[in-house]
């Protein structure tokens, strides 16, 4: 199921708040804004076909049924393999056939690629839970 929603009207108050928040957004491997389109939010529900453990970013391939029942493959950009692995994510964490919901933004070129803004399981659990630390020794030290 693909739900497309478009939000164009944005209150100035939110824009200002967001500009302030943007100041703290960490430097990423690449600018998401150059690759994905803020005007194309997507919500996808599908099953994992495979996970590509590839540098610099892993990609989750998801089979999504479109409204006509046809299966379409989407690619969802994920984090860097080193970090995922350090956080305990393994090749068994997202096995083929697992059902997931992806809330993200479609690529600017209109292909079936999106960034995984939020990835959740059908019961509402997040694929990755926010954590206060990485568990790495330099986090334990103070």
């Amino acid at each position: 199921m693909i739900e497309m929603r478009i939000k164009l009207a944005v209150a100035i108050v939110i824009a200002v708040a967001s500009a302030l928040l943007n100041a703290t957004v960490a430097f990423a491997h690449h600018a998401f804004a150059a690759e994905f389109d803020a005007k194309k939010p997507v919500k996808l529900r599908g099953t994992v076909a495979k996970m590509e453990w590839i540098n610099p970013h892993a990609w989750i391939h998801v089979d999504v049924k479109d409204p006509d029942g046809k299966v379409v493959n989407w690619m969802i950009e994920a984090g860097t393999p080193n970090t995922l692995f350090r956080r305990g994510f393994t090749k068994n964490s997202l096995a083929p056939g697992t059902e997931i919901l992806v809330d993200g933004y479609q690529s600017k070129d209109g292909s079936n690629r999106a960034n995984g803004r939020d990835v959740t399981f059908p019961d509402g659990r997040k694929l990755f839970l926010g954590s206060s630390g990485t568990g790495a020794p330099y986090d334990e030290k103070k």
Binding site: K7, V10, I14, A17, S18, A19, L21, N22, T24, V25, A26, F27, A28, H29, H30, A31, A33, A34, E35, F36, D37, A38, K39, P41, I54, N55, P56, H57, W59, A78, G79, T80, N82, T83, L84, F85, R86, Y105, S107, K108, D109, R113, N115, G116, R117, D118, V119, F128, L129, G130, S131, S132, G133, T134, A136, P137, Y138, D139, K141, K142
Partner: protein, 321 residues
């Protein structure tokens, strides 16, 4: 001797004996201080001191905890309260990042220690012009990969520098010492710095390198690395090819190397400036980060730019009718 002086003497003796104790525990290799191991510089301490901390060089312990809490909340990518544009940029659940969660162990409020205001000194007019030109290129739809930043092109990250600074993830370094060289293996894009210690001169001026040309020597227990021959293709905060970088590695306890760097580039900065970051021992391992392996993002960015070109072209046609 008055009471104040007596107290000061007691403190001085205590500090000296603590330092002597630490000194005895310091490992040595090939007659020099052993810097070998895997180290991390992950930290949320910013390079420049934030405006609201002006005049404050160090946090107290309680302030450091409060600051860490605030920064983690602000950078929490699980939040959805921004514009769609901010939301796109905040992609990935926060736990996909590995930029550290703590301020530096010295509790400094900025990496920059000199100038005392913790800010990068003003750029020269020439350097300002170069920065503006680069910003203009980065803001238009990319004509080709060369229009995008070095990290996106898998060429270099701030993590590698030099100077080497904490970034989004892969903030890990392995240092090796051989009889004639110090080697720094950088996890990000698996760059390697091979630093000769034999006193050879720098390369001729017409040879420019992405990470400069490093030469190392020991000053007491501190490894000093002097790098020149940079290229303007890898500007560090506005620096150009005349960058002269001095890095100092001092192992101050078994688990910490104090890393200091001084940036001297008279054509780019109005004065020299210095930063300091403790490197913390970490068990590793370091993983290979073969950035070009599947850098689909670059293809997607360029196809996105072409889609934007096409849309602009169609809009222009409609406008003509």
């Amino acid at each position: 001797m008055n009471r104040g002086l007596a107290a000061a003497s007691v403190v001085a003796v205590a500090v000296a004996s603590a330092a002597a104790g630490t000194e005895a525990r310091m490992p040595v290799v090939q007659g020099q201080r052993d810097l070998q191991g895997i180290w991390s510089n992950a930290t949320i301490t910013p390079l420049e001191r934030p405006k609201d901390l002006a005049g404050k060089e160090f946090f107290t312990e309680a302030e450091a905890i409060a600051y860490e809490k605030r920064v983690l909340e602000e950078s929490n990518k699980d939040r959805r309260d921004g514009t769609p544009e901010a939301d796109v940029g905040r992609a990935y659940n926060d736990s996909w990042w590995d930029r550290g969660t703590k301020v530096v162990s010295t509790r400094r409020t900025s990496i920059i220690v000199d100038p005392p205001d913790g800010k990068i000194p003003p750029l020269t007019p020439q350097a300002q012009k170069a920065v503006s030109a680069r910003v203009a290129v980065s803001q238009r739809p990319a004509g080709g990969p060369e229009d995008r930043g070095l990290p996106e092109r898998c060429i270099l990250w701030p993590t590698a520098g030099p100077p080497m600074l904490s970034s989004a993830y892969n903030n890990n370094y392995q240092i090796l010492q051989t009889p004639g060289y110090v080697v720094i293996f950088i996890e990000m894009i698996h760059d390697v710095r091979i630093i000769p210690l034999d006193g050879r001169p720098h390369l001729p001026g017409n040879i420019r390198q992405w990470m400069g040309d490093p030469r190392g020597h020991w000053e007491g227990n501190t490894l000093v690395v002097d790098s020149t021959n940079f290229t303007a293709k890898n500007p560090f905060r506005g620096s150009d090819r005349n960058l002269h970088l001095i890095e100092r590695f001092t192992r101050i306890d078994p688990d910490t190397i104090l890393y200091r760097f001084t940036v001297d580039d008279p054509t780019a900065f109005t004065r020299t400036w210095t930063g300091e970051v403790p490197l913390t021992k970490t068990p590793g391992p370091i993983y290979e980060y073969a950035c070009h392996e599947g850098n689909y993002s670059m293809t997607n960015i360029l196809s996105g730019a072409r889609a934007e070109d096409k849309a602009a072209e169609e809009a222009a046609k409609k406008g003509l009718r």
